[in-house]
């Protein structure tokens, strides 16, 4: 076979196996090594809800896709150039994500009669059955080669077999010309208490690399030049970590201690885990007995002057609805983070969707508007969380931040910012009475925010609560007072539009078609836009971070285009919201509710269809 080195700008590789096979780690290490090599990248973990579903079955297949490139990478890629499948089930579940030119690496040890049967193959030839004969299939005896590699390691047989992901990783490092040093360093750190495991993992990684270079079966290796990233110090960050750090940054800038009351829920949990790590920055985390306690402890903390946060995902947000109304009524700052997942009900917890928009906008009793902000990429979660906290505190109101499982778990390189580049946060804390009696719901004229009067302050004793009140703080069911307070609370949220940035347009400011998106679809919409530009099409993109209120120039932006197409991972929630806010425009839609991100090609097709 003729060996070829392919010089390419972009390669997508997908690691798949049983949920116990360590594919998430393998993918992460591969991405990290690529980052160090200087490539741009984007990752997409795609895992099942079960921790360890029956071995070898389709329901237990876990995947991790990474797109690496020498240019700008904004998505984890539609279809993969290389698929690693550690068993027949992984092949069966993932063959549909491979390009027709793809190389597929299979662990031949698992492709026996039993394995094929478990995966539900009807014949003994999975390649023919899946109609993927045109792909380059490499059968490598990964399990037995790993056993052979580690036979003198002194490790028990189970631990040896568990190391087969490192063998696979070594093979991939050869194929993609990745340096091994970074992963060696990682192994040394991870197993520093167990030198035997350091030696074993390093050996098996190296043996995988050598094996791949020795066999003649691998037809292509890939060369991907480092990307031309902006100068600076970088790190790899996923969306949930960035969210947690954005909150910590807001805590530092405001001088308000961070308090997070939460209940573990997929895919939001790692925000709570990350915050729990950072006690050195005075972050208090309380893992509550339920979602309701999560938000209620946060509301209690907000009352005392903390930057209060609760994190959750769709079903948890449903449980928090009543308390969200309490935060609106008491006019306390609170950041509610919903890492959206497939719904309704328990839905598909590990998959991504944008189906909570209506719930975020409307899911409460009474006239109960709250500000809604969305993050558009893993690293943007930092800024989105920072500004959600800033606006919550400065405007004395709850702010909902919508992210998505795709963002929370996905990662990308992030040029590390400096805190001096971020604005100050000035909550309206009242240090002492400025007039007697103190009116807890007296508002400043610009923002309509009330003052934050913290328990412990002499002379500001006051009562807040869920009952309607007059501005002086006394309970009131007077019809005129109620309507006025309803209007004041709504106007306060509406006036946030005076503080958020104008909506930007990527591409020309006028033209044939405006793609409209929000949240985590940004990478796909942006990449589709580039492709459409290459095709010479008159298309632009307006991607919304600020959902409610909308930027003030929204109608002006829309008016410059002949057609508008709203693309989102739901049945049209943002499109319908826009119809309500700006009914003078006609909105085309492209929707997908499959628990999966868009592909770039479907967006290109959808736009071309209306051009």
């Amino acid at each position: 076979m003729q060996h070829k080195v392919i010089d390419t700008k972009e390669v997508v590789i997908r690691f798949t196996g049983d949920s116990g096979d360590g594919m998430q780690l393998t993918g992460t290490l591969f991405a990290d090594a690529s980052a160090l090599f200087g490539n741009d990248f984007s990752t997409f973990p795609d895992f099942p809800a079960e921790i360890r579903a029956p071995q070898g079955t389709i329901s237990g297949v876990s995947g991790f896709q990474v797109n690496i490139g020498s240019g700008e990478i904004r998505t984890p890629g539609d279809l993969c150039d290389v698929l690693v499948a550690m068993n027949p089930a992984a092949l069966k579940a993932n063959a549909k994500w491979t390009k027709s030119t793809a190389t597929i690496i299979l662990d031949s040890d698992t492709f026996d009669e039993k394995g094929l049967k478990k995966a539900g193959f009807a014949t003994e030839d999975p390649v023919k059955e899946l109609k993927i004969e045109d792909r380059t299939i490499i059968f490598a005896a990964i399990t037995s080669l790993t056993k052979e590699s580690l036979k003198d390691s002194g490790l028990d047989p189970k631990a040896i077999v568990r190391s087969k992901n490192m063998f696979t990783l070594g093979m991939c490092y050869y194929m993609f010309n990745r340096p091994l040093e970074f992963t060696f360093k990682y192994i040394k750190k991870k197993f520093k208490k167990n030198p035997a495991l350091i030696d074993a993992n390093q050996k098996v990684l190296q043996d995988g690399f050598n094996y791949a270079s020795n066999i003649q079966a691998i037809p292509n290796t890939y060369k991907i030049e480092p990307a031309k990233l902006k100068k600076g110090l970088y790190r790899n960050i996923n969306g949930n970590q960035a969210t947690a750090w954005g909150l910590l940054a807001a805590s530092e800038k405001s001088g308000r201690p961070l308090f997070c009351g939460s209940y573990p829920i997929t895919p939001a949990t790692s925000i709570l885990e990350e915050l729990a790590l950072h006690k050195e920055l005075n972050a208090k985390t309380l893992q509550c007995e339920d979602e309701i306690a999560g938000i209620c402890t946060a509301i209690g903390a907000a009352y005392t002057g903390s930057l209060a946060v609760t994190t959750t995902s769709g079903p948890g947000l449903s449980l928090k609805s009543e308390a969200l109304g309490l935060a609106v009524m008491t006019e306390l700052p609170l950041v509610v983070i919903d890492v959206q997942r497939g719904g309704p009900s328990t839905g598909i917890p590990t998959k991504t969707e944008q189906t909570d928009l209506n719930q975020a906008l409307y899911g409460r009793n009474g006239e109960c508007p709250i500000a809604v902000i969305a993050a558009h990429s893993p690293s943007h979660c930092f800024d989105a969380a920072f500004y959600s906290a800033k606006y919550a505190m400065e405007h004395m109101m709850p702010v909902m931040l919508l992210t998505e499982g795709f963002l929370g778990n996905g990662s990308e390189p992030w040029r590390i910012p400096s805190m001096k580049d971020y604005p100050e946060i000035n909550p309206p804390i009242l240090e002492k009475p400025d007039e007697v009696p103190f009116w807890p719901f007296k508002r400043d004229e610009e923002r309509l925010a009330r003052r934050w009067a913290l328990p412990g302050t002499v002379g500001l004793e006051h009562r807040v609560g869920g009952l309607e009140k007059n501005n002086n703080g006394t309970v009131s069911s007077d019809p005129i007072v109620h309507e006025r307070m309803v209007n004041e609370r709504a106007e306060k949220v509406a006036r946030l539009a005076n503080y958020i940035p104008d909506q930007t347009v990527i591409g020309d400011e006028s033209g044939e078609v405006l793609i409209v998106g929000w949240g985590g679809t940004y990478g796909h919409l942006y990449t589709a836009l580039k492709e459409l530009h290459e095709q010479g099409k008159s298309v632009s993109l307006a991607h919304f971070d600020y959902i409610f209120p909308l930027p003030k120039n929204t109608a002006e932006v829309f008016s410059k285009f002949k057609k508008i197409i709203v693309c989102e991972l739901n049945s049209g929630q943002f499109a319908n919201y826009l119809r309500a806010c700006h009914q003078q425009f006609q909105y085309h839609q492209h929707n997908k509710v499959q628990g999966q991100p868009f592909t770039v090609s479907e967006i290109v097709d959808a736009v071309n269809a209306i051009l």
Partner: protein, 338 residues
């Protein structure tokens, strides 16, 4: 300067029904506040009264302190947030049998389990008052109410038993009409480090009048209740002639002087003992077989959640190389792009 009860009265009109037991508890708490301030060197702005929903939950409006009238059942969660976020505050939660034990049961037991340093005043009138007369989780079996026209078919909770079940460190009980006892218990609760649950048996004059009458009736009160005091023998009765002894695994009511029984034979109340066995028996005592136990039944020392949080933060901060956000941002694996 010593505070007076007047300093703790807000300008809000008290809107409970005339004859409601809550008035008496409000008076007891307002009287206790100056004592608490003096004993613990607190100032008024340090108090936060938190409540849920129900008649009892209007309480914060009537106190001239910081106050938070929450939503149904969630007072324990709100007060937990207040206390953990700012441990220097003195947090008082006012709740009822529906608010704390039905819709808020989960938060109630978890606050106790964590031993958050808050005081929970549980007004137990065995009925839903504000929704006008439905049975509650403490209504006796067979109780006829609007939602149980043929009598309830469910067993009630004993709040004290729940406190013990959640490994609570403090439980006290009083009657609305026992103003001085309630006032004294408030001071003891304030002194306790950890979740202090005080059950006050209270009368609902409209929907459950005289539900505790057997105990409240002045003529028989001292024969049907026993006020427990740490370190003192368990004596009760109008003539102080009855007492409690252990009879095998059970408590027994005995008469002093009969069968040669003297004060020395009686149990001596030990509120501080960790083992909840005897506390459980005392909490369970029901009239007419036993006198109902009042006073501080259990008050044991243990670490509190809020202290543990503070200690952990202090320790981590002293050891971590990360002291600010910029330190965190560049920590761990990073790479330079030239």
């Amino acid at each position: 300067m010593k505070y007076t009860p007047q300093d703790f009265k807000s300008n809000q009109e008290v809107k409970w029904c005339p004859g409601c037991g809550d008035h008496a508890i409000l008076a007891s708490v307002q009287r206790a506040m100056p004592d608490i301030c003096e004993a613990l060197n607190y100032t008024k702005e340090r108090f936060v009264f938190v409540s849920g929903i129900g008649c009892s939950s209007r309480f914060p409006y009537y106190m001239e302190t910081y106050g938070f009238h929450g939503i149904h059942g969630r007072a324990s969660a709100i007060s937990t947030g207040v206390k953990v976020a700012n441990p220097t505050l003195s947090v008082w939660q006012v709740t009822g049998d529906g608010d704390a034990l039905a819709i808020g049961g989960n938060h109630f037991i978890h606050a106790i389990r964590r031993n958050i340093d808050i005081n929970i005043l549980l007004f137990n009138n065995q009925i839903y008052g504000l929704t006008k007369g439905q049975y509650s989780p403490t209504s006796v079996l067979g109780k006829v109410t609007k939602t149980s026209p043929y009598g309830t078919v469910e067993h009630p909770f004993n709040p004290g038993a729940l406190v013990l079940g959640a490994r609570g460190t403090y439980f006290a009980r009083s009657l609305d009409v026992e103003l001085k006892l309630t006032q004294d218990i408030m001071l003891e609760s304030a002194k306790h480090d950890g979740t202090a649950v005080v059950e006050v048996l209270v009368n609902c004059v409209i929907f459950n009048d005289k539900t505790h009458w057997n105990l409240v009736d002045r003529e028989h009160r001292s024969d049907r209740t026993i006020v427990l005091k740490h370190g003192e023998p368990m004596i009760f009765g109008k003539d102080r002639d009855k007492g409690l002894m252990l009879d095998g695994m059970k408590l027994k009511v005995v008469k002093l002087g009969e069968n040669g029984i003297t004060e020395k034979d009686l149990l001596v109340h030990d509120a501080h003992q960790e083992n909840p066995g005897l506390h459980s028996m005392l909490i369970d005592m029901q009239y007419p077989e036993y006198p109902v136990a009042l006073g501080v039944i259990r008050a044991v020392k243990d670490t509190t959640y809020d202290d543990n949080v503070r200690d952990q933060i202090t320790e981590v901060r002293s050891k971590s190389p990360i002291q600010c956000m910029d330190d965190l941002l560049v920590s761990g694996a990073t790479w330079e792009v030239e």
